[in-house]
Amino acid sequence: MLLCFLIILFTSFTRQVLAQEATPAAGLFETYKTDYLFQQKIYQEDYLDYFRKKQIHTQYGTLITQKDKNEATIKFLITRNTMLKAYLLALRVKLDQYEAQNPTDTEIAQIGLSKLEEWLVEQNTILSSINNESDTSEWAETFKNKYTDIQQQIYTSLVQNEANQKTLVLKDIKKLADDIKNSPKIKPESQQWFSSLPTKSDLVISALNDALKKTQKSQYSGSNFQDFYSETKIDLNKANGYLAEMVSNLKSIVVKFSN
């Protein structure tokens, strides 16, 4: 009896969760995100194993401990690449959600991510054939340089996705404003109050363009990644603020001038 009750309860909750995943892209993203989180867990385990074996080798310094350390290093580097690939894939799928708002730039970002995924797969083949410490160190240096490109592509894609999402909200607001304007339930005196909307719309577009421009910042001035994401977040939040104001204005118009 209790078991039946629990099964019914579980299935009802499952349906609720599935109902939230309305779009196919969102559902697919959740699948890839789960895979990424699983890979992340494996990576953390392998990293700890590598760290432990490195410490043992530092303490004893024998040929066996060195062999163990080298094997653990290769294993952890491979799982790190696999985890990063899983993240890039999930992000690439995530971009599909709002792709329609800016198909060209979104596709460019997706191609960039795809190329990096291929590079990581290729690197895992190379790593599998490495069997000495000097080659591993050399590879780690190559990765360090490439990781700047990876980070730039990741954050550019994240900003592109957020800009696409805000563009969709702006479109929805404009459509709603048109519906309100043309509604017979809204008094004609309301027309003058819509004048502020185009200005706000321009401010949103300008803030989003500013955010996207920052993603083009050159990353070759130094060896470290120049984090532009926090700067773009300011512009994206600014755009969000204007969108919220537009919604608030429309609400006020509807409440004041509805028949």
Binding site: E133, L176, S183, K185, S252, V254, V255, K256
Partner: protein, 124 residues
């Protein structure tokens, strides 16, 4: 001879002429030495301690957070805003409510899918 006269001056209880009274350390309400009873008492004590702990924890959980006394920002008058008495959802005509709800839901959505933090400078 003088030493002999003062020999018991600091120890009056040792006076051999006074009969000594044996004071027993035993009390009438002696604790029972039965192991079962001792175990029972420990159990009762444990239950009491656990009950008190549970009471304290539940009281701490249900305690309301202190009211923040930070000053609220003074609203800046916005000339572009239409002055409406209130704009609650109930005052918005039904035909627009769904659109407003969808837009607000999308506005509140946070698109954070940040990359994993890895140390690329790590050399094996």
């Amino acid at each position: 001879m003088r030493d002999n006269l003062l020999q018991n001056i600091d120890v009056p209880q040792d006076n051999p002429t006074v009969p000594t009274v044996n004071v027993s350390a035993d009390t009438k309400n002696k604790l029972p030495k039965n192991p079962k009873i001792i175990a029972l008492m420990i159990m009762i004590l444990l239950i009491v301690i656990l009950s008190i702990t549970a009471l304290i924890v539940s009281a701490a959980k249900t305690r309301r957070p202190p009211v923040k006394t930070t000053p609220t920002p003074t609203p800046v008058p916005n000339a572009e805003l239409v002055e409406a008495p209130t704009s609650s959802a109930s005052q918005i005509p039904k035909e627009f409510q769904i659109q407003f709800n969808e837009i607000e839901k999308e506005l509140l959505k946070t698109e954070n899918f940040l990359p994993p933090q890895i140390d690329s400078a790590l050399l094996p």
